[in-house]
Each structure stands twice: as C-alpha cells, then as structure tokens.
C-alpha cells in the first residue's frame, strides 16, 4: 500500500533504500539515501559493513546532490572504557574508534537513527541529529574482540542533509547490506 514515498506491506514498513554489495575490495565507500521525508521526521539506517582490511568505520553526511558535505559535532563511546571520542566540528563521524576485523563472518553491525529538522539558521533552530548503536569485531582479536560503540551528534552545516556515505578508513568496503526505513514523518 504505497502512500507517496511510504510503502506499507503485509510485512510492515518497506525500506525506502536498500544497498547490497559483495564487491570484493573494490568499493571505496557505500552511500545511502537517509532522507525521503522532506527534512522532517525520523528515519532508521540498519545494516552491516565489512571492510576489506582492518579499518575504522566512518560516516559522512552530504546533501542530496553529493556536492555539499556537512560538518558534524558528536561524541562516541565504547564498551569496557569510560573514555570517549568527541569533536566539536568534523567532516565525518567515527562510528567505531577502532579497526574492525575484516574476516568473513565479522565486520560491523549498526543502527543509526536520524532526526531531521529544517536545519536552518532561523529561531528556534531545529537540528538534524543522529544517534547510533554499533556491534563490531576488533581487528586481529579472537574471543575478546566482541565490541560495542554508541554515540550521538548533530549536523552543524545548514541546509539539506540527505545522504550518508560510509567509508572504511584507510581501506575499502568489501561487503555491505544497508536498509533505510521511514517511520515518522510530518
């Protein structure tokens, strides 16, 4: 039952975006549409990425044309430590702060929720913000390598935010399966 860009089936909300790939070591990044709700509401990006070699997972946010990159501020933490990674202005988000294991059944599994707003310099300001949960395997580790990271942040560049580009820092994206859902609109 499609209603505009929203489609509800017998199985529930149908993803508005799906990117699957098993391209080997050739993909430098994978980009998904995270915003089909006209800049107001909530979407979810759920999936996994496995790098070609041990690498941290970074996320960049862009406008719909992939021309204008957004700056962000965020704080990220992980299990088994009270330390965090924080920045007041950055061009990308560290979803993990450690290298992810590239082995076949490992990688990085995550949920990222996006809250959209007008993101304009008008009063009251309404931010585009996000928070995430991530489960990943530490590169090179055995049974102790089961880790979790989480964080939240917001976009600090005005205007449209529509795309998320995932990058295996210093490596390539080997396998990925990402889906984005829209649940709450306006």
């Amino acid at each position: 039952m499609p209603i505009g860009s929203y489609e509800f089936t017998e199985h529930g909300v149908k993803p508005f975006e799906e990117e699957n790939g098993a391209t080997g070591a050739g993909a430098t990044s994978v980009t998904v549409d995270i915003n089909n709700i006209q800049q107001k509401g909530i979407t979810l990006c759920d999936g996994f990425i496995r790098p070609a070699a041990g690498a941290r997972l970074n996320m960049q946010l862009w406008d719909n044309t992939l021309v204008n990159q957004k700056n962000v501020m965020y704080r990220m933490g992980k299990n088994s430590t009270t330390s965090t990674y924080s920045t007041g202005s950055s061009s990308e988000v560290r979803i993990t702060n450690e290298n992810i294991d590239p082995d076949t059944d490992e990688g990085c599994f995550f949920q990222i929720w996006f809250k959209f707003g007008e993101n304009q310099t008008s009063t009251p300001y309404e931010d585009v913000s996000f928070h995430w949960r991530c489960f990943y395997f530490l590169d090179g580790a055995a049974s102790a390598g089961v880790h979790q990271s989480e964080g939240q942040g917001k976009v600090i560049t005005a205007g449209d935010t529509s795309k998320a580009k995932f990058i295996a820092n210093g490596s390539n994206v080997n396998e990925y399966r990402l889906r984005c859902y829209n649940f709450l609109s306006h």
Binding site: E10, V13, E18, F109, F135, A144, V146, Q148
Partner: protein
C-alpha cells in the same frame, strides 16, 4: 504470519503473558518463509517485555532458534553503567540481557518488585552467501540486582548470530529454574 495494523498501531505477532512459570519464554519471530526465505529479504523486529526469574539471583539469557529448533550460535557483549568491564562471548548459544544477577524479591506482589524490563531491536536477515549477513540487534534493559541498594542497573546488549539461516523463535530464560513474564514481539518493517 503477516502483520495486523490496528487502531493504535502495529499489533504483536506473538505474545506471552500471565503468571505461569516457564522453562523458557518462546516468542515467534518468523515462520520459515516469511517474509520470504529469499536471500535478499529481511525483517525488522521489536521484542519488549518484563520478566522475572522463578528464584532469586539469576542471570537472564536469550537465544535464537531456527524452525527446526536448533540454537543459533551468538556473539554478544553486555555493558552496564556500573562498571567498565563487560560480559561477552564470541561463541555461545546463549546471549545475556544483564551483567549482574537479577533478583525476584516482590516480583509478583509489588510494583517496586525486582523484575527485568527490556526493549530489543532485531534485524533478521540471515544469509549464507555474499554479502554475508546474520541476525543482529541491540537491547536496552534494566536489572534489579539482588540484595543491594541498586534499584535499577541499565544494561545494553549488542549481538549477532554467527549461524546463518533464518531464526524463527526467540527464547528468554534464566540460568537455572524457571521464568515468568509478559513479553510481546512485533514486526514493524520488512521486505
């Protein structure tokens, strides 16, 4: 087992409620071929509820089973706000909601009784060829630790299955003796 959309939102696909003691609480997540056992199909699920162990001082576990009743092997990590150390495993048929023991004082007689409440989000898309996928998910819960002044201990669990193939049942149980609870599962997305 398609979902039903009611006047208040998506209705549960399964529900266990009442005061009965179970060896384990089992919830349907997916029959063998729903939404479709095709390689590129998925479902997004939510399971939430409140449980209490039959006896005091127990760990609350969960596990996934396929349609033949086989346990999936799990990798998981649990952390709390009370410690920097975590509970985790890279190869277990049992995942944990909590790092500390769960009590059951007053569990059936008091609103302030010791029970564990949780919300679990599950992406069920297991697939055994490239791109490889597993069941993966995240859980928020709060333990009430036996015989201490810790009223609520927030815990966060992240997990994947390392066994490929569809998972059709989620079981929740204690490390020994029985468990009771009110738990529901919903499918809110899928393709």
């Amino acid at each position: 087992m398609s979902i039903t959309f009611g006047g208040h939102g998506i209705q549960p696909i399964d529900e266990v409620s009442g005061n009965a003691i179970y060896t384990s609480i089992s919830l349907d997540l997916s029959p063998t071929n729903v939404p479709d056992n095709n390689a590129n199909k998925t479902q997004l699920l939510c399971v939430a509820g409140t449980v209490s162990p039959q006896l005091d001082r127990r760990l609350i576990y969960f596990r996934f089973k396929d349609s033949s009743g086989n346990n999936a092997l799990l990798k998981y990590v649990v952390k709390t706000k009370l410690a920097t150390s975590v509970a985790r495993s890279a190869n277990s048929s049992t995942g944990r909601f909590n790092r500390y023991y769960q009590g059951n004082a007053g569990s059936t007689s008091s609103l302030a009784g010791e029970r564990l409440s949780f919300i679990m989000f599950i992406c069920e898309q297991s697939h055994d060829s490239q791109p490889y996928t597993n069941v993966h998910g995240h859980c928020w819960s709060a333990t009430q630790y036996t015989s201490t002044s810790y009223n609520q201990i927030p815990a966060r669990t992240a997990f994947i299955t390392k066994t490929y193939g569809r998972s059709s049942t989620l079981q929740i149980y204690a490390n020994s003796n029985g468990i009771r609870g009110n738990v529901r599962s919903w499918r809110w997305g899928g393709e």
